[in-house]
Protein backbone atom coordinates (compact mmCIF):
# COMPACT_ATOMS: atom_id res chain seq x y z
CA UNK A 1 0.00 0.00 0.00
CA UNK A 2 2.83 2.38 0.87
CA UNK A 3 4.34 1.39 -2.46
CA UNK A 4 1.98 3.88 -4.02
CA UNK A 5 3.95 6.85 -2.62
CA UNK A 6 7.28 6.23 -4.42
CA UNK A 7 5.57 5.01 -7.60
CA UNK A 8 3.34 8.09 -7.55
CA UNK A 9 6.40 10.26 -7.02
CA UNK A 10 8.13 8.73 -10.02
CA UNK A 11 5.03 9.53 -12.04
CA UNK A 12 4.87 13.10 -10.69
CA UNK A 13 8.52 13.79 -11.51
CA UNK A 14 8.22 12.46 -15.07
CA UNK A 15 4.92 14.24 -15.60
CA UNK A 16 6.32 17.55 -14.41
CA UNK A 17 9.18 17.06 -16.87
CA UNK A 18 6.68 17.49 -19.70
CA UNK A 19 6.22 21.11 -18.58
CA UNK A 20 2.77 21.01 -16.98
CA UNK A 21 1.98 22.64 -13.62
CA UNK A 22 2.27 20.34 -10.63
CA UNK A 23 -1.42 20.38 -9.74
CA UNK A 24 -2.32 18.57 -12.96
CA UNK A 25 -0.48 15.56 -11.54
CA UNK A 26 -2.73 15.82 -8.46
CA UNK A 27 -5.84 16.10 -10.63
CA UNK A 28 -4.83 13.05 -12.60
CA UNK A 29 -4.33 11.01 -9.43
CA UNK A 30 -7.77 12.09 -8.20
CA UNK A 31 -9.79 11.60 -11.40
CA UNK A 32 -7.96 8.88 -13.34
CA UNK A 33 -6.34 6.87 -10.51
CA UNK A 34 -4.62 4.28 -12.68
CA UNK A 35 -0.91 3.66 -12.13
CA UNK A 36 0.16 1.99 -15.34
CA UNK A 37 -2.16 4.09 -17.53
CA UNK A 38 -0.85 7.33 -16.03
CA UNK A 39 2.73 6.26 -16.77
CA UNK A 40 1.70 5.37 -20.30
CA UNK A 41 0.03 8.79 -20.64
CA UNK A 42 3.40 10.46 -20.15
CA UNK A 43 4.64 8.81 -23.34
CA UNK A 44 1.41 9.63 -25.18
CA UNK A 45 1.46 13.28 -24.06
CA UNK A 46 5.11 13.64 -25.02
CA UNK A 47 4.26 12.27 -28.48
CA UNK A 48 1.25 14.64 -28.76
CA UNK A 49 -1.00 11.63 -29.30
CA UNK A 50 -4.58 12.22 -30.45
CA UNK A 51 -7.56 11.54 -28.18
CA UNK A 52 -8.56 8.42 -30.12
CA UNK A 53 -5.13 6.90 -29.55
CA UNK A 54 -5.35 7.84 -25.85
CA UNK A 55 -8.77 6.21 -25.65
CA UNK A 56 -7.74 2.98 -27.39
CA UNK A 57 -4.47 2.67 -25.46
CA UNK A 58 -6.17 3.24 -22.09
CA UNK A 59 -8.95 0.77 -22.89
CA UNK A 60 -6.43 -1.85 -24.03
CA UNK A 61 -4.10 -1.34 -21.07
CA UNK A 62 -6.91 -1.34 -18.52
CA UNK A 63 -8.88 -4.16 -20.11
CA UNK A 64 -7.29 -6.38 -17.44
CA UNK A 65 -9.51 -4.57 -14.91
CA UNK A 66 -12.59 -6.12 -16.52
CA UNK A 67 -11.34 -9.45 -15.21
CA UNK A 68 -10.63 -8.07 -11.76
CA UNK A 69 -14.27 -7.03 -11.60
CA UNK A 70 -15.42 -10.45 -12.79
CA UNK A 71 -13.87 -12.16 -9.80
CA UNK A 72 -15.27 -9.58 -7.37
CA UNK A 73 -18.89 -9.79 -8.52
CA UNK A 74 -19.68 -11.83 -5.43
CA UNK A 75 -18.07 -9.38 -3.01
CA UNK A 76 -18.90 -6.01 -4.53
CA UNK A 77 -22.67 -5.93 -4.45
CA UNK A 78 -25.27 -3.22 -4.36
CA UNK A 79 -25.33 0.26 -5.76
CA UNK A 80 -25.06 3.88 -4.75
CA UNK A 81 -22.18 6.23 -4.21
CA UNK A 82 -20.12 3.81 -2.11
CA UNK A 83 -20.31 1.14 -4.78
CA UNK A 84 -19.44 3.74 -7.43
CA UNK A 85 -16.28 4.64 -5.52
CA UNK A 86 -15.28 0.99 -4.98
CA UNK A 87 -15.56 0.31 -8.71
CA UNK A 88 -13.80 3.57 -9.63
CA UNK A 89 -10.89 2.72 -7.32
CA UNK A 90 -10.40 -0.89 -8.40
CA UNK A 91 -6.69 -0.63 -9.26
CA UNK A 92 -4.14 -3.48 -9.43
CA UNK A 93 -3.03 -2.66 -5.89
CA UNK A 94 -6.55 -2.41 -4.44
CA UNK A 95 -7.53 -5.64 -6.15
CA UNK A 96 -4.55 -7.57 -4.83
CA UNK A 97 -5.11 -6.28 -1.27
CA UNK A 98 -8.81 -7.10 -1.31
CA UNK A 99 -8.30 -10.58 -2.68
CA UNK A 100 -5.41 -11.49 -0.38
CA UNK A 101 -6.46 -10.04 3.00
CA UNK A 102 -9.82 -10.91 4.56
CA UNK A 103 -11.92 -8.22 6.21
CA UNK A 104 -11.29 -8.21 9.98
CA UNK A 105 -15.00 -7.84 10.72
CA UNK A 106 -17.13 -9.80 8.20
CA UNK A 107 -20.20 -7.77 9.09
CA UNK A 108 -18.53 -4.59 7.93
CA UNK A 109 -16.91 -5.84 4.74
CA UNK A 110 -18.06 -2.87 2.69
CA UNK A 111 -16.41 -0.42 5.11
CA UNK A 112 -13.18 -2.39 4.96
CA UNK A 113 -13.08 -2.32 1.15
CA UNK A 114 -13.89 1.38 1.15
CA UNK A 115 -11.10 2.10 3.64
CA UNK A 116 -8.53 0.19 1.56
CA UNK A 117 -9.58 1.95 -1.64
CA UNK A 118 -9.56 5.41 -0.06
CA UNK A 119 -6.19 4.86 1.66
CA UNK A 120 -4.66 3.59 -1.57
CA UNK A 121 -5.89 6.61 -3.45
CA UNK A 122 -4.65 9.01 -0.77
CA UNK A 123 -1.16 7.52 -1.00
CA UNK A 124 -1.25 7.64 -4.77
CA UNK A 125 -2.46 11.26 -4.93
CA UNK A 126 0.10 12.28 -2.29
CA UNK A 127 2.86 10.55 -4.28
CA UNK A 128 1.85 12.18 -7.61
CA UNK A 129 1.71 15.61 -5.95
CA UNK A 130 4.99 15.24 -4.06
CA UNK A 131 6.80 14.02 -7.16
CA UNK A 132 5.49 16.88 -9.31
CA UNK A 133 6.41 19.45 -6.63
CA UNK A 134 9.85 17.91 -6.22
CA UNK A 135 10.33 17.95 -9.99
CA UNK A 136 9.40 21.64 -10.15
CA UNK A 137 11.85 22.80 -7.46
CA UNK A 138 14.85 20.65 -8.33
CA UNK A 139 16.26 19.69 -11.69
CA UNK A 140 17.65 16.24 -12.11
CA UNK A 141 18.16 13.84 -14.93
CA UNK A 142 15.10 11.61 -15.27
CA UNK A 143 16.42 9.76 -18.33
CA UNK A 144 15.56 6.08 -17.95
CA UNK A 145 13.03 6.55 -15.14
CA UNK A 146 10.27 5.40 -17.49
CA UNK A 147 11.63 1.89 -17.01
CA UNK A 148 9.53 1.85 -13.81
CA UNK A 149 6.51 0.97 -15.99
CA UNK A 150 8.30 -1.95 -17.65
CA UNK A 151 9.47 -3.15 -14.24
CA UNK A 152 5.92 -2.90 -12.89
CA UNK A 153 4.63 -5.03 -15.77
CA UNK A 154 7.41 -7.58 -15.19
CA UNK A 155 6.52 -7.85 -11.50
CA UNK A 156 2.83 -8.30 -12.31
CA UNK A 157 3.78 -10.93 -14.91
CA UNK A 158 5.83 -12.90 -12.36
CA UNK A 159 2.91 -12.75 -9.92
CA UNK A 160 0.59 -14.08 -12.64
CA UNK A 161 3.04 -16.88 -13.36
CA UNK A 162 3.03 -17.83 -9.68
CA UNK A 163 -0.74 -17.78 -9.56
CA UNK A 164 -1.57 -19.59 -12.81
CA UNK A 165 1.42 -21.90 -13.24
CA UNK A 166 0.41 -23.07 -16.72
CA UNK A 167 2.43 -22.01 -19.75
CA UNK A 168 -0.49 -21.88 -22.21
CA UNK A 169 -1.76 -18.29 -21.70
CA UNK A 170 1.78 -16.89 -21.54
CA UNK A 171 3.00 -18.62 -24.71
CA UNK A 172 -0.17 -17.85 -26.60
CA UNK A 173 -0.01 -14.18 -25.61
CA UNK A 174 3.71 -13.96 -26.38
CA UNK A 175 3.05 -15.23 -29.91
CA UNK A 176 0.14 -12.78 -30.37
CA UNK A 177 2.21 -9.94 -28.90
CA UNK A 178 5.23 -10.46 -31.15
CA UNK A 179 3.03 -10.92 -34.20
CA UNK A 180 1.10 -7.71 -33.49
CA UNK A 181 4.23 -5.75 -32.69
CA UNK A 182 5.68 -6.73 -36.04
CA UNK A 183 2.63 -6.12 -38.20
CA UNK A 184 0.57 -3.56 -36.27
CA UNK A 185 3.14 -1.49 -34.39
CA UNK A 186 0.76 1.44 -33.77
CA UNK A 187 -2.25 -0.56 -32.58
CA UNK A 188 -0.20 -3.35 -31.06
CA UNK A 189 -2.01 -3.48 -27.70
CA UNK A 190 -5.49 -3.63 -29.15
CA UNK A 191 -4.67 -6.23 -31.83
CA UNK A 192 -2.66 -8.44 -29.50
CA UNK A 193 -5.28 -8.45 -26.73
CA UNK A 194 -8.16 -9.09 -29.14
CA UNK A 195 -6.23 -11.87 -30.84
CA UNK A 196 -5.22 -13.64 -27.65
CA UNK A 197 -8.68 -13.42 -26.06
CA UNK A 198 -10.11 -14.89 -29.28
CA UNK A 199 -7.62 -17.77 -29.16
CA UNK A 200 -8.39 -18.33 -25.47
CA UNK A 201 -12.09 -18.56 -26.34
CA UNK A 202 -11.29 -21.12 -29.04
CA UNK A 203 -9.35 -23.22 -26.55
CA UNK A 204 -12.28 -22.96 -24.11
CA UNK A 205 -14.64 -24.33 -26.76
CA UNK A 206 -12.28 -27.22 -27.39
CA UNK A 207 -12.08 -28.12 -23.73
CA UNK A 208 -15.84 -28.28 -23.44
CA UNK A 209 -17.01 -29.84 -26.69
CA UNK A 210 -20.39 -30.75 -25.23
CA UNK A 211 -21.42 -27.32 -23.99
CA UNK A 212 -23.20 -25.11 -26.46
Amino acid sequence: MFGYVPLGMAFGILFQDLGYSWYYATLMGVFVFAGAAQFMAIGLLAAQAGLLEVLISTLALNSRHIFFGLSLLGRYRGSGLQMFYLVFGLTDETYSLITTTPAPDPARQRDYYLAITALNQSYWVAGCTLGALLGSVTRFDTQGMDFALTALFLVLLIEQWRKVGEPLPFLLAAACGLFSLHFFAQQMLLVAITLSVTLLLVSYRRRQPTSA
Binding site: G3, P6, A10, G19, Y20, Y24, M28, F31, V32, A34, A37, Q38, L51, T58, L59, N62, R64, I66, F67, F68, G69, L70, S71, L73, V87, F88, L90, D141, Q143, G144, M145, F147, L149, T150, A151, L152, F153, L154, V155, L156, L157, I158, Q160, V164, L168, P169, F170, L172, A173, A174, C176, G177, L181, M188, A192, I193, V197, L200, L201, Y204
Partner: protein, 109 residues
Protein backbone atom coordinates in the same frame (compact mmCIF):
# COMPACT_ATOMS: atom_id res chain seq x y z
CA UNK B 1 -4.22 23.16 -29.58
CA UNK B 2 -3.65 24.81 -26.23
CA UNK B 3 -1.42 22.51 -24.15
CA UNK B 4 -3.48 22.60 -20.96
CA UNK B 5 -6.79 22.17 -22.79
CA UNK B 6 -5.36 19.15 -24.59
CA UNK B 7 -4.11 17.75 -21.28
CA UNK B 8 -7.54 18.15 -19.69
CA UNK B 9 -9.17 16.37 -22.64
CA UNK B 10 -6.61 13.56 -22.38
CA UNK B 11 -7.30 13.26 -18.66
CA UNK B 12 -11.08 13.21 -19.17
CA UNK B 13 -10.70 10.54 -21.88
CA UNK B 14 -8.50 8.42 -19.62
CA UNK B 15 -10.82 8.83 -16.64
CA UNK B 16 -13.80 7.66 -18.71
CA UNK B 17 -11.92 4.76 -20.33
CA UNK B 18 -10.52 3.60 -17.00
CA UNK B 19 -13.88 3.75 -15.26
CA UNK B 20 -15.52 1.97 -18.19
CA UNK B 21 -13.15 -1.00 -17.92
CA UNK B 22 -13.64 -1.21 -14.16
CA UNK B 23 -17.43 -0.90 -14.27
CA UNK B 24 -18.19 -3.16 -17.27
CA UNK B 25 -18.50 -6.48 -15.39
CA UNK B 26 -20.67 -4.95 -12.67
CA UNK B 27 -22.99 -3.32 -15.18
CA UNK B 28 -23.33 -6.20 -17.62
CA UNK B 29 -22.81 -9.40 -15.73
CA UNK B 30 -24.30 -8.95 -12.28
CA UNK B 31 -26.52 -12.01 -12.54
CA UNK B 32 -24.28 -14.32 -14.54
CA UNK B 33 -21.27 -14.22 -12.25
CA UNK B 34 -20.92 -18.00 -11.96
CA UNK B 35 -20.79 -18.95 -15.64
CA UNK B 36 -17.78 -21.25 -16.28
CA UNK B 37 -16.71 -19.17 -19.28
CA UNK B 38 -16.26 -16.16 -16.99
CA UNK B 39 -14.20 -18.20 -14.55
CA UNK B 40 -12.08 -19.38 -17.48
CA UNK B 41 -11.53 -15.85 -18.79
CA UNK B 42 -10.92 -14.54 -15.28
CA UNK B 43 -8.13 -17.05 -14.85
CA UNK B 44 -6.41 -16.95 -18.23
CA UNK B 45 -6.85 -13.40 -19.48
CA UNK B 46 -4.76 -11.54 -16.87
CA UNK B 47 -1.60 -13.61 -17.55
CA UNK B 48 -2.08 -13.14 -21.30
CA UNK B 49 -2.52 -9.38 -20.89
CA UNK B 50 0.52 -9.03 -18.65
CA UNK B 51 2.64 -10.92 -21.20
CA UNK B 52 1.45 -8.59 -23.95
CA UNK B 53 2.14 -5.50 -21.81
CA UNK B 54 5.72 -6.61 -21.21
CA UNK B 55 6.23 -7.12 -24.96
CA UNK B 56 4.54 -3.76 -25.58
CA UNK B 57 6.95 -1.96 -23.28
CA UNK B 58 9.88 -3.49 -25.18
CA UNK B 59 8.36 -2.35 -28.47
CA UNK B 60 10.54 0.74 -28.87
CA UNK B 61 13.83 -1.02 -28.06
CA UNK B 62 16.23 -1.22 -31.01
CA UNK B 63 17.61 -4.74 -30.82
CA UNK B 64 19.25 -4.54 -34.26
CA UNK B 65 21.72 -1.77 -33.44
CA UNK B 66 24.21 -1.45 -30.52
CA UNK B 67 23.82 -1.86 -27.61
CA UNK B 68 21.21 -4.40 -28.85
CA UNK B 69 18.82 -3.75 -25.97
CA UNK B 70 21.42 -4.71 -23.37
CA UNK B 71 20.40 -2.00 -20.82
CA UNK B 72 16.74 -3.07 -21.04
CA UNK B 73 17.51 -6.78 -20.86
CA UNK B 74 19.91 -6.42 -17.92
CA UNK B 75 17.53 -4.13 -16.03
CA UNK B 76 14.72 -6.65 -16.62
CA UNK B 77 16.91 -9.49 -15.43
CA UNK B 78 17.74 -7.53 -12.28
CA UNK B 79 14.03 -6.82 -11.66
CA UNK B 80 13.27 -10.51 -12.15
CA UNK B 81 16.01 -11.72 -9.80
CA UNK B 82 15.11 -9.16 -7.13
CA UNK B 83 11.48 -10.22 -7.32
CA UNK B 84 12.25 -13.93 -7.14
CA UNK B 85 14.50 -13.31 -4.14
CA UNK B 86 12.42 -10.93 -2.04
CA UNK B 87 8.99 -10.73 -3.67
CA UNK B 88 8.67 -7.07 -2.71
CA UNK B 89 7.23 -5.36 -5.80
CA UNK B 90 8.63 -1.98 -4.84
CA UNK B 91 12.17 -3.27 -4.23
CA UNK B 92 12.14 -5.10 -7.58
CA UNK B 93 10.87 -2.05 -9.49
CA UNK B 94 13.34 0.24 -7.76
CA UNK B 95 16.31 -2.07 -8.43
CA UNK B 96 15.55 -2.40 -12.14
CA UNK B 97 14.78 1.29 -12.66
CA UNK B 98 17.80 2.55 -10.69
CA UNK B 99 20.09 0.28 -12.71
CA UNK B 100 18.53 1.35 -15.99
CA UNK B 101 18.83 5.06 -15.15
CA UNK B 102 22.47 4.55 -14.16
CA UNK B 103 23.18 2.54 -17.31
CA UNK B 104 21.77 5.24 -19.59
CA UNK B 105 23.07 8.29 -17.78
CA UNK B 106 26.60 7.05 -17.12
CA UNK B 107 27.09 6.02 -20.73
CA UNK B 108 27.78 2.45 -19.63
CA UNK B 109 26.56 1.17 -23.00
Amino acid sequence: MNGNAHLLLVMATMALATFATRATPFLLLGRRADHPLLAFLGRYTPPAIMTILVIYSFGSVEFASPPHGAPELLASLLTLIAHLLWRQALVSIFAGTAFYMYALQSGLF
